[in-house]
Symmetry: C2
Subunit: 418 residues, 2 copies
């Protein structure tokens, strides 16, 4: 089967499956999720054997330790994926919810009802767990899915989708709701980007390069995820002990993710009291500091920050620090360098807390909390398929509701338009 034929065939199957899935009851969808969870556990040897082939090839290819760790499956990770599917089954079903209903003067009763998007395409890197998480969340929300994972995880992804799609169908889900593009050539991605006939939306998950390429070339609507150049601003009236806890948490609790802080802004009034003890705590955690000139007065071991540092998402134990002379300068810095992901102020001042919330344009704006909370689970959505950094349709953590659209259902009694 050539690549174009594969995309077209799987696209059609997914489209047809989506139509049936849209009207499957909540109970049946949950049965399918539970069946998928059981199958992962029962067929773990088959899955681990496939993963071992990917790991061997990856080692031979010289993949970095971080990449190999993402690629690795073991019993514990399979258990986690199964547990994730069971959690999904326990969540409320957003499909069919009528979120509002009103009656017009002419008697027309208009309701807004949540329905699935249809077919969702997901392009991601070599992380086999995404295969199961994404397929489960799409099924929960009544969407068929076309998956295209990184080629290094080819065998793992194929084994996983075989196991879970067989299990879903056995439990009554339509055949073809979970599709995996098996060709590892780049051309498959190009075809997906323009498969408007088969895909209602594309969600790229991965590095900045992948996402840029998708946005630049897709004709299918895209939900952008990913880049987070997040800031914490420590105000002149901050509780400095709280500020230190938040800064350390936002930088070091998990530095490699998009909601980690990358630049700290400190009001000049509190810099002398705040920075020296913070510096000691950062050093203890192994954080490299790149500071502006005034920062380096208080942290002599900090490297000199350049313009580029303000714009960089390190995703690492590196922190840029800038001392600002006003609240307005902090807002301006965030406006200039921020990526509208997650931004926090630490302050005890009522007025500035309100202004920060109002003026900062980002998916999540915090007062007195770590930016690390921008996450579907932490927000209470029960699941997450990524964090949208765009403004259209979904913004911030994407849970089940963000994978739905709506239709208007209109109850008349013979109304015609005058």
């Amino acid at each position: 089967m050539d690549i174009a034929t594969e995309v077209r065939t799987k696209g059609r199957q997914a489209r047809e499956a989506a139509r049936l899935l849209a009207n499957l009851g909540t109970g049946q969808k949950n049965e399918a999720l539970l069946s998928m969870a059981r199958a992962l556990e029962e067929e773990k040897d088959f899955i681990l054997a496939a993963n071992a082939r990917d790991m061997a090839a990856g080692q031979e290819k010289g993949l970095s330790r971080a990449l190999l760790d993402r690629l690795l499956l073991n019993e514990k990770r399979i258990q986690d994926m199964a547990a994730g599917l069971r959690e999904l089954a326990a969540l409320p079903d957003p499909i069919g919810q009528v979120t509002s209903m009103w009656t017009r003067p002419n008697g027309l009763q208009i309701g807004r009802m949540r329905v699935p998007l249809g077919v969702i395409g997901i392009i991601y890197e070599a992380r086999p767990n995404v295969t199961v998480d994404a397929a489960g969340l799409c099924l929960k929300t009544g969407n068929a899915v076309i998956l295209r994972g990184g080629s290094e995880a080819f065998n793992s992804n194929r084994a996983l989708t075989q196991v879970i799609s067989r299990a879903a169908t056995a439990a009554g889900a339509p055949t073809g709701v979970i599709q995996l593009i098996e060709t590892t050539e780049r051309e498959a991605v190009n075809l997906l980007l323009r498969a408007n006939e088969y895909l209602d939306v594309l969600i790229p998950r991965g590095g900045a390069g992948l996402i840029r390429a998708v946005v630049q070339n897709a004709t299918v609507p895209v939900i952008e995820t990913g880049v987070g150049n997040c800031h914490v601003y420590v105000d002149a009236e901050a509780d400095l002990a709280m500020a230190q806890r938040i800064v350390i948490n936002a930088k070091t609790q998990r530095p490699g993710v998009c909601n980690a802080m990358e630049t700290l802004l400190v009001h000049e009034k509190v810099a002398p009291a705040f920075l020296p003890p913070l510096a000691a705590a950062l050093k203890e955690k192994g954080v490299t500091v790149r500071g502006c000139e005034r920062t380096r007065e208080f942290i002599p071991w900090a490297e000199a920050a350049t313009e580029e540092d303000w714009a960089t998402e390190y995703l690492d134990l590196i922190l840029a620090i800038r001392v600002v002379d006003s609240f307005a300068a902090a807002l301006e810095h965030i406006h200039t360098y921020g990526t509208k992901h997650s931004e926090a102020i630490v302050t005890e001042n009522y007025q500035r807390a309100r202004e920060f919330l109002a003026r900062v344009d980002a998916a999540a704006v915090y007062v007195n909390a770590s930016t690390r909370f921008t996450d579907g689970y932490e927000f209470g959505f029960g699941a997450e398929i990524g964090i949208s950094t765009q403004k259209l349709h979904a913004r911030g953590p994407m849970g089940p509701e963000q994978l739905t659209t709506f239709k208007y259902i209109i109850f008349g009694s013979g109304q015609i338009r005058q």
Copy 2:
């Protein structure tokens, strides 16, 4: 100024204006709208003179009567535009609404607040009223706008935007919230399609060709509007008098718009009683009928419908009619040929009414009412900028709320992630 410089300059101005506008109070925005309405009335001679130049050029160019009618401004139409702006001022402001708020077990209080999208690009044909309607609705919802109207309306659009943007600024709106791309060359559109730095969303309004070109070439997120191949299905248990009223209304009340019916589906059981009197009524309204073979048994003067007719959006006094042998066949026809815009069933059967609402995938699904109600005003939104035919972000009539996004505002007391 070359084209690229114009787009870049106006894009930057709009971006900067949007930032200020996002935090303008409701009262100030409404003042600006009222000021714009007054200015239109006061400077009507200036506007009409500009329009007269477009009309003369259009006549010379041999534009069709329909196009010239769209292009024409007169005192009444200027009054209507002013009235539209005053109605916008009277509508509630969606910006700043917190649509939900909840508290997490760790005490974080998370709210979802409506905020403007930012800068909206609108590409449209030679209809000067769109210039004012779109600028007003964007201002109401806190968005800056970059307008690119059809070249035939160049002088009218320039005069209108001069008048309204001067009036908006005089009433306290930021300079640059309303931008008009003045070059009439196509290249300007191409530049807008890829102006991701300046535009948060593009809304093309116009014919199928324009919309296709935008979807195929834009890297800026697009909201598709327009195509509506809408159906009315007359069920075996329909009230036939009601069905006839609805069919005549959906086809003839205003045939040139996207929510008009294009194909009528009739259950075979009622075809003999329903079609002959309907045919007489259609004839009286000057409607041409293209029917399937069975339709032509009852309407001998109908032309023979071809496969192409089922897929055609006539936007004219032409109706395709097909007799179907079951409810399922009607659903299948709509699934195959529909464009997911507006679909109606006429029935007295409870179960089939419910099934139609559940199974038909369209922006608006009706029981016992005309498809012509798919409209922002008829839905009670108070304004409209088009009807979205896509599933992402906005579906169906786009009122003020559809021109907004949201951000999460999070109130903490020092929370850090474990």
